[in-house]
Amino acid sequence: MKRLILLFSFVLASCSTTVPVKMDFPKAPAELKEPCPDLRLIEPDTTKLSEVVLVVAKNYEQYQECQVKVDSWSQWYDKQKKIFEQVK
């Protein structure tokens, strides 16, 4: 019996296989990696409403750009995850 076990373990020893090919998770576009900037501040000595409105409008622009960036991140991740999971 011992001899048989030894024989089978020897004969089956070459049956172990693992495929050494794998896909690395892709790198995200550099544009998406840039952090959102801080909101612009109004000059402390400003007394004009138009200057305040202008800074507020520029801050809205920054927010909208950041919103697009977050949406793009989400889309990028969903797409890449789907592709990545196909390779299994």
């Binding site: 004969v11 070459s14 495929v19 305040v52 909208q64 990028w76």
Partner: protein, 149 residues
């Protein structure tokens, strides 16, 4: 180390070689007793049995190894093709996301340019009847910084 040696041996010989090798081993092993009937070969019969047994074992082992290696190579090939296809799809998806991001950002910027021009034009009306107290600026800046007063 053993795997490395086995893989190199398998590369040298064709897969059918191991079937023939183990077959020859089996013949030697099973007929070694019959050889002992010939007086001149008697001293070699036990030696031949051992060699035949080893040849049979090694042949079966390496034939199995050759089969597994062939399957394994096929799997590697399929996986490599799959990965190459996925990398291409991934690159296309990256480009799509980048393009949409750039287009949307450009639209936001273009709209803001128009709005800021309008603010510039309307500044006279805005500033004519309104003088801001410094506390307005202070409060707005605090809100922008996101810190407590």
């Amino acid at each position: 180390m053993i795997t490395w040696i086995v893989e190199h041996i398998l590369l040298v010989f064709p897969s059918w070689f191991w079937i023939v090798f183990s077959g020859v081993g089996a013949i030697i092993y099973f007929f070694s007793d019959s050889i002992s009937l010939i007086p001149a070969v008697v001293p070699y019969s036990k030696f031949a049995k051992a060699i035949g047994g080893i040849m049979l074992l090694v042949g079966v082992y390496l034939d199995g190894g050759a089969g597994v290696t062939a399957t394994w190579k096929q799997e590697v090939k399929e996986m490599q093709a799959k990965v190459a296809r996925a990398e291409q799809e991934s690159s296309t998806a990256n480009t799509e996301v980048q393009t949409v991001f750039k287009e949307k950002t450009k639209v936001i910027h273009d709209v803001q340019v128009v709005i800021q021009e309008k603010i510039g034009k309307d500044s006279g009306k805005m500033d004519a009847n309104c003088v801001l107290d410094p506390v307005v600026i202070e409060d707005l800046n605090l809100a922008a910084k996101g810190k407590k007063k």
